[in-house]
Amino acid sequence: MKTLNLCAVFLVSLGLLTGCGSKDPDPNQYGSNIDLPTPKRGLLPNMTIAKPAEWGDQVPVVPEGFSITAIATDLRIPRQTLVLPNGDILVAEGRGGSAKALKPKDVIAGIIKAQGNTKVKSGNRLTLLRDSDGDGVYEQQGIFADNLNAPYGLALVDNNLYVANQDALVRFDYQEGMTEASGPPETLVELPKAINHHWTKALTASEDGRYLYVGIGSNSNITERGMDAEVNRAMVWQIDAQTGAYKPYATGLRNPTALAIQPGTDVLWAVVNERDELGPNLVPDYLTSVQEGGFYGWPWAYWGNNVDPRVRPENPEKVAQSITPDYSLGSHVAALGLDFSSEVMGPDFADGVFVGEHGSWNRSNPVGYKVIFVPFSDGRPSGPPIDFVTGFRGEDGKTRGRPVGVTLDPSGALIVADDLANTIWRVVRD
């Protein structure tokens, strides 16, 4: 009882310090027409860190008519996956970043946030999963390539397997049926790698294979490492696959963590993680088509022309240029995975995108921790998101998994990488 009282006192004081109660009201923050509260932050940021737990006999929850199984476990921090033409699945495993603590805050926040992540060592490798007899059991699991530097984005163009390490875009020769790379990769182009506060390098290829798109996250939450650290950051590069020549394709995208080309078009889509510490309902992470040459606000503005008061010197010109994204996913959900669906997922989930949400830290009531489906019609998002895979965060407040990459398997499945349980999940129609 005494402990309970102490806990209550502690929670109440935390509530006072963070400038609000334990409940974060959920405003309407899905879609294109959303409510944005005024920025606020108490003396401490709102924080609820995932308490990891084992899955045991449990599995994530999927809609009726679907089932889910773990097809690979005991991986070393799986992030993104790629389904190869023969059905094999490549898994990029690792953890990057070399950002040193700049303030006492970074030391403390680092220790706290680490509680919600896996303790497994970075794999720095690609694992290949194979289901030879097509029974849905991936009986073969081997290392395709090793000694990579925090690989994340994956793309296959003809016989070229591109891997976006945290420091460089590299290329392997790939022949169908390969279970192991024939040698070390060659570097196509070096990517911005200093500090790497946001280290994940998202990757996708245009339908004709001529261009590769790489997402490069900002080097800070909101310029607290200085503007010099943000050169060539918070943008998407367009890279010529033949020559390695690159140019910024779109800028002001704080952390574009997953990219995908809309099938049958040359339109690039991205999910982007927005800034923290402006309150539980700011700033919404978003899904957007990426306009060539477009500027999406970071750091000076968010969701169009809303000024972020934390950035000095101010830049009204850039604020005025800032494009409003297409579709808000809600604040702090931490979208890390994106892929377009197709008919193979059934009529209810045929037209739209799947988004993997890693889950929040900067909120009293956690959000995210699931895979959602955003329905499309006429090539645009057309309705509220639908939960597709849930149960990663249980009713007991424990977190058993955190979704990252989502990939459509054209044979009729969704592949979900889980970097807390170090598991690959496969969702199929019954």
Binding site: L43, T223, E224
Partner: protein, 142 residues
């Protein structure tokens, strides 16, 4: 009338206590100057300096406060204790701690509250150290 300073007088602060108390002064002062530099230049490194200087100052004042409490417990039976010193030290520490939390915000979010608090705390620590280092002696003489 000649005033002689007696180093072994029982009312004198312990050298470690003196060191901690006096050491906090340049730390808080440095934080204030760093905040002023950040607010006038937008160079982010100044606010990083301020954060660490405040953290160091909190460590020094915290330990000095501990020494003051020990002194108080040991001295209460023999002397009329000067309460204003530990009280001021406590106020300085609490305001300094709030200032540390303000400085944990990102970039310009520390301003202007961070600079205002840094000035208040710098003035407070000067006053506290002054009183702490003088009143003991007069308290002893009384």
């Amino acid at each position: 009338m000649t005033v002689t300073v007696d180093r072994t007088y029982p009312g004198t602060l312990h050298p470690l206590h003196t060191l901690l108390l006096a050491g906090a002064v340049p730390l808080f002062l440095g934080a204030m100057l760093s905040d002023w530099a950040y607010s006038s230049s937008y160079q982010i490194q100044w606010t990083n300096f301020a954060s660490w200087l405040i953290a160091g100052a909190l460590l020094f004042t915290g330990l000095a406060l501990l020494c003051a409490i020990v002194d108080w417990v040991r001295a209460s039976s023999r002397h009329q204790y000067i309460f204003v010193y530990p009280l001021l030290l406590l106020v300085t520490w609490v305001l300094g701690f709030i200032n540390a939390l303000i400085h944990a915000k990102d970039a310009w979010a520390t301003m202007p509250t961070g600079l205002v608090l840094s000035i208040i705390v710098a003035v407070l620590i000067c006053a506290t150290a002054w009183i702490g280092l003088t009143c003991w002696r007069t308290g002893g003489v009384k």
